[in-house]
Symmetry: C2
Subunit: 386 residues, 2 copies
């Protein structure tokens, strides 16, 4: 298996991009990554996108987008695993290079979510849940995560304030990320007083609806050595996937994200590393409870300790293990198909030492954890400075 | 790069499966393939499906389906390239094993198209075209392929009867395939007298709307040697992808399927073979003109000779190079996401010598060509007896 490095990073400002189209947003990120890598040709384009069919009425997306940047003719394909589609795109590009089927791959993620109204967006997002067991009965994602929060609270005593601490931290981090959707300093009281969405989750516990795209250029170690000569290099040392039942009804335990745990275990095993070796992480905080459960599943703390360690500041910039220095899905925004790519982009940027005001000092190893639905799938990547 | 073999083949009967759900249809094919391979555990599940969001209101499909057969926890992901989604699923599984990231992969394709009415199915299929340049202006796929037929006729003199000869041949082949949607013996007159859909294409020039699934188990050569000891073995020796503009407006030439030509060239190069080495082929005959153009693009005849060679019987069972012995999309049916997997399944079955009444004698090498939209993407695989 060949070594795979990240040689290009491209992001656009996340937000409600009313005047842009899916293809223009995507092209912004893709061209930025190609420019950063210093390449104009690639062997393959992968696109992570959850539901262009429901959000913008367009499938066959990868061919369309290849053409958009003048690359009609280049092999291209889309991957989907709901909100983990971006992570799956990274995996897909990684596998092609590892196999020797490609030397340079443009890995991208995109979602244009604001071309439909709120009800249609909620419907589209709801297709990440089990439609027969969950969706058709009326539940949507805030309700599903509220059930996880209640189960976690019942077993571990996780408090309302601990949930709020996740949002407060990630919004503080987001202040330092120019690409973030929100630059908004909030405190615990603001979270506790925000509109109730699905008890115990309130508006400021939820990630927003976002338009955005992110891109990476991956390359074989040989090409990376040429193209990034004399500059910091970042390697993908671990890649792990797993699934779980997508309906909560099928789960053995609602207080653990088993797909995340298994994906992380696989990534750690491939990397020959453990949770204690990580200098920072980006995790999938689509709701505040998700971050608490994700850091437990990744082994950054014991089960049930996610709330307390967050409240203690361990996961803030400057803490023991900074989590979501980018602002996370909560503040940076959550264009679902783009998120998994943006997470890996943030870790790569940090490991290069190019993360500006939010730089984690002396970071050499980091983890990105992406998740689909309410934990029905998860994809974890571990990156390290070469 | 490690060698990859096909150790399991699973199909369900294609048709309008009103009483079945996407998940039950898929499970039928998946379990048949696992059974055929003699394995109960896999390292990865890939699912090719064009638009479960628009057809059945469900995304996050691979996790859902893994759970359906008791494999929640197994890594799983969906891929999409419109009607070439199945071919992309094969490629995805191939890459994972070639890289050494997996030893055994369940590769599947599925589409449930009849849960929506005809207009909604036409809309969903139309998302494989460029929505801004084509779909929003009202054209659908019969019209797009009619334009290709007219261009081909204008340059090469392809006749109405030659188009009909494709349908007649594939329906004859379909009579010998128990899984085919149609078992219907038609003649050229029947095609010429069928309802006009988009001049010059008539109803019997068009593939149908179909529910169906197909599955393969791929394995490393090492595992294949154990699991298929003493039985015929089939290896994937070539895999090629390419794209083109998905809108016809962007094409340099409407008389050639350039994505197919490039994908075939890549697959031939990897295999170290040429068109003359093939003993049979499955090509993407979503419309009769598509088969004529596909066999030209794969190099089975000179450009412009697709009609005459078909009319002469060269591509019929017993001819020089049997094309679509399964009945093709035309008679076997075209559940879009399943098609690319079903094509590879047919070639594998033929190379094992297990194709029953439609067996191509002494076949040792075959090609499967899958296509998205009106040629915006194509994926070609070449298989050979080990």
């Amino acid at each position: 298996m060949r070594d795979v490095e990240i040689i290009g990073i491209g992001m656009v400002d996340f937000g409600e991009l009313w005047t842009d189209s899916l293809r223009s947003i995507w092209a912004g990120a893709a061209l930025a990554a190609l420019d950063d890598a210093g390449v104009s040709e690639v062997d393959l384009i992968t696109v992570g996108c959850m539901s262009p069919g429901l959000f913008v009425g367009q499938e066959h997306l990868a061919s369309l987008l290849a053409d958009e940047i003048g690359m009609a003719g280049v092999p291209a394909g889309r991957v989907e695993s709901a909100c983990a589609s971006g992570g799956l795109a990274v995996r897909s590009g990684f596998a092609e290079i590892a196999a020797g089927l490609a030397d340079v791959v443009l890995v991208t993620g995109v979602e244009k979510m604001t071309d439909v109204d709120g009800a249609d967006a909620t419907y589209a997002l709801g297709t990440a849940a089990d439609q027969e067991w969950e969706g058709f009965h009326g539940i949507t994602f805030p309700g599903l995560y509220a059930m996880l929060a209640r189960a976690h609270t019942a077993r571990y005593g996780t408090t309302r304030e601990q949930l709020a601490a996740v949002a407060v931290k990630n919004h503080r981090h987001g202040l330092k990320n120019p690409h973030a959707q929100f630059h908004l300093d909030i405190d615990v009281d603001a979270v506790l007083q925000s509109t109730l969405v699905a008890d115990p989750l309130r508006l400021l516990d939820c990630s927003p609806v976002t338009d955005g795209a992110a891109a990476l250029v991956l390359a074989s170690a040989e090409r990376a050595a040429e193209l990034r000569k004399g500059r910091p290099r970042v390697k993908i040392i671990g890649s792990g996937l797993s699934t779980d039942t997508i309906s909560l009804a099928g789960r053995a335990d609602l207080t653990e994200l088993a797909a995340v745990r298994r994906a992380a275990e696989r990534a750690y095993a491939m990397a020959g590393k453990g949770p204690g070796d990580m200098d920072l992480a980006e995790v999938h905080d689509c709701f505040t409870i998700a971050e608490i459960m994700a850091i437990e599943a990744c082994g950054f703390c014991e089960p049930g300790r996610g709330g307390p360690v967050t409240e203690a500041g361990d996961t803030a910039l400057g803490g023991r293990l900074p989590v979501n220095p980018s602002g996370g899905l909560k503040a940076k925004g959550h264009p679902v198909g783009a998120t998994g790519v943006a997470q890996v982009a943030e870790i790569a940027l940090q490991l290069r030492g190019e993360a500006g005001d939010r730089q984690v000092e002396d970071a050499t190893t980091g983890l990105a954890q992406n998740m689909g639905g309410s934990g029905g799938s998860s994809i974890v990547h571990i990156l390290e400075v070469v």
